[in-house]
């Protein structure tokens, strides 16, 4: 088996009594763009800092490019970081910031040439002599990326670099960054709590929760076949209904009793198991169809979103049942009425439910 370009093995970290990383193992291939996605406090930034050498892990090791870097100080690791607040040097110009890591490493002319090239790559040529304090958020972000890439790190780490930008700019910068990294062939790990950002940018996404990686997969797999109910909940919209397995059917199907009726789904659970079923909103459609799971919940809201329409239904759970459609809606919908909706058994995701929680 080929060793991954970056490998984190069984990383653990406690801050006092709090476990921040609970045995994380992660492998990243050369040239890959991997996102660490999770809510705040899930340990994603700590994992990033351990890879960069800014924080030491209590247990576990880090290997990069066939070398054990676990105990190397950050300045000997060849791992670049783009910080959340960019951390540009306020006493230096844009050009000096970008050339910062080159000084003393290459000849002065060479440093100027490389810095100028990266200045061009991030479209900041006209700002070379400006103070970084005079830049907008998007411009600062570009300088931070150029500064980190100019020293040609083996691995680039990005800690929520878009979180301070407004939405429109964020989308432009995401595409720009993705293109730049692809052109340079840079391996990158990207920390974010924004699932849309992760889906757009990543080759693979590691969903993190409570100091663990719950699933590491391509965006497509993660969306269509989430491994845990947390992954389902955190990536994309979904409707979740709890239930209990009451029997089996042919073809590896199980019958689940929920408060909306009996639902059929693929899965391997013993009779009596407590489960959560999940359905993506675009998989649900209006009407009652043979061979499909059908329920008739009460309609509560119709949310118009332009290209798509979301329809919410009252659920026995905390969150509503959501249907999403880009087709024309039936004309006779009125809130407060029970409406039949259905979805295919194979679109039903089933996860074990922790009853004690």
């Amino acid at each position: 088996m080929i060793e991954p370009f970056l490998e984190v093995r069984n990383a653990r970290k406690n801050f006092g009594p709090t476990t921040v990383l609970d045995g994380v193992t992660l492998g990243v291939t050369r040239g890959e763009f991997v996102s660490l996605l999770g809510p705040s406090g899930c340990g994603k930034t700590t994992l990033l800092r351990i890879i960069a050498g800014l924080t030491g892990a209590d247990v576990g090791d880090v290997r990069l490019d066939e070398q054990d870097i676990t105990t190397l100080p950050p300045h000997k690791r060849d791992v670049g970081v783009v910080f959340q607040n960019y951390a540009l040097f306020p006493h230096l110009s844009v050009m000096e910031n970008i050339a910062f890591g080159l000084k003393g490493r290459v000849a002065k002319d060479e440093a100027t040439r490389i810095a100028a090239r990266f200045l061009d790559l991030v479209h900041m040529r006209d700002f070379a002599e400006r103070s970084v304090r005079a830049l907008s958020g998007g411009q600062q972000q570009r300088v931070a990326v150029a500064r980190a890439l100019a020293v040609a790190p083996k691995l680039l780490l990005l800690d929520e670099p878009f979180s301070a930008l407004d939405r429109k700019l964020r989308e432009t910068m995401q595409i720009e960054l993705k293109r730049l990294l692809r052109e340079l062939g840079t391996t990158a790990i990207f920390v974010t709590h924004d699932q849309d950002e992760a889906l757009v940018m990543s080759d693979r996404i590691a969903v993190m929760n409570q100091g663990r990686i719950e699933q590491l997969d391509t965006p497509q797999t993660l969306y269509h076949a989430p491994a845990t109910s947390f992954a389902l909940q955190f990536v994309g919209l979904s409707t979740r209904i709890s239930g209990q397995v009451i029997g089996h059917q042919d073809g590896n199907l199980i019958l689940i009793e929920t408060r909306h009726g009996v639902v059929c789904a693929p899965g391997n659970f013993a009779r009596g198991s407590q489960v959560i079923i999940g359905i993506r909103p675009e998989r649900i459609s209006f009407g009652m169809l043979d061979g499909q799971n059908s329920i008739a919940p009460q309609l509560t809201d119709i949310v118009f979103q332009g290209a798509r329409v979301q329809v919410h239904f009252a659920s026995a759970e905390d969150e509503p049942i959501i249907l999403e459609s880009s087709a024309r809606l039936p004309t006779n919908l009125a809130s407060g009425e029970a409406v039949s909706i259905s979805w295919a058994p194979e679109d039903t995701l089933v996860f074990p439910r922790d009853v004690s929680a």
């Binding site: 950050p74 000997k76 060849d78 970081v81 040097f89 306020p90 006493h91 910062f100 890591g101």
Partner: protein, 276 residues
């Protein structure tokens, strides 16, 4: 905007009035007195003063002591300012109190305390003999070293606080960013922290130097009359010798030297820390 400006004028009025009466007028008189010859304006007093080798020894004493006190304060104060800025919670409160509370003790009291500490049978002497550095007790009181150490103690907060106020604003991630760019810890200090703390260092140097160059009580108590600085000489001229002419000249020389050094150092710092 116009009303804002006139408001500024009124807000500053009490201070301007006060300083004019108690500071600007006497200072003007002092400067005028130093340039008064037998027949009107003349620099003959300066010529006389600067022509005397004794005067140059006094100027040398003044600058040397003030310089050593300032550098000692910087060496001790710079790391303390970092500790203070990075400390959290109780530790920070205790540190801050340890730095600020001594300011409430009068200079005279502190100087007398140092007299006790620096005596032949004082704590320092006993300690150095105890650990074998000195073979027999020695007196540090009434020596230049004793004066520098004592004065540095009194002026240390004026070095720590301006540096602290600058360090506090430096994002710790800047040093991390430097590290991830492959820059060694020593280079990071000289290329990131040092230039960013330079404004604080310059303020601290200016504060301590101007205090040390003009100190009067501390040298009087810690080194005595045999060692004269411009400030002690000025004091003696007015209080003991009743020599207004000499006093006004030494005071003016002191003023010019102090202002020049502080101005030059600020200008230099401004050139180094271009964007800071």
């Amino acid at each position: 905007m116009k009303s804002d400006r006139s408001l500024v004028g009124w807000l500053a009025a009490p201070a301007v009035f006060y300083l004019t009466i108690v500071y600007a007028l006497p200072l003007t008189w002092l400067l005028a007195r130093s340039m008064m010859g037998p027949e009107g304006f003349s620099l003959v007093l300066f010529e006389e003063f600067l022509g005397d080798p004794f005067s140059w020894r006094v100027i040398g004493n003044t600058l040397r002591i003030a310089g050593m006190v300032t550098i000692l304060c910087l060496l001790i104060g710079y790391p303390v300012a970092f500790a203070l800025a990075r400390a959290r919670g109780v530790v920070q409160v205790v540190l801050l109190a340890a730095i600020i509370l001594p300011l409430s003790i009068g200079v005279v009291v502190k100087a007398f305390a140092w007299q006790i500490v620096l005596r032949r049978d004082g704590v320092v002497s006993q300690f150095l003999v105890g650990i074998g550095v000195w073979s027999e007790p020695q007196r540090l009181l009434f020596t230049e070293i004793g004066l520098v150490v004592g004065a540095a103690n009194v002026f240390l907060p004026f070095m720590i606080l301006p540096i602290y106020s600058v360090v506090k604003l430096i994002d710790p991630r800047l040093m991390e960013a430097g590290a991830t760019l492959g820059v060694s810890p020593v280079s990071r200090f000289f290329r990131i922290l040092f230039p960013l703390t330079l404004p604080g260092i310059v303020s601290g140097l200016a504060f301590v130097f101007s205090l040390a160059v003009s100190m009067f009580v501390i040298p009087s108590l810690l080194i005595g009359d045999r060692f004269q600085t411009l400030a002690t000489l000025t004091g003696r001229s007015f209080l003991l010798m009743r020599n207004e002419a000499l006093g006004s000249v030494t005071a003016t020389v002191l003023l010019v030297l102090a202002v020049a050094i502080v101005l030059i150092s600020s200008l230099l710092a401004r050139r180094v820390g271009r964007f800071a």
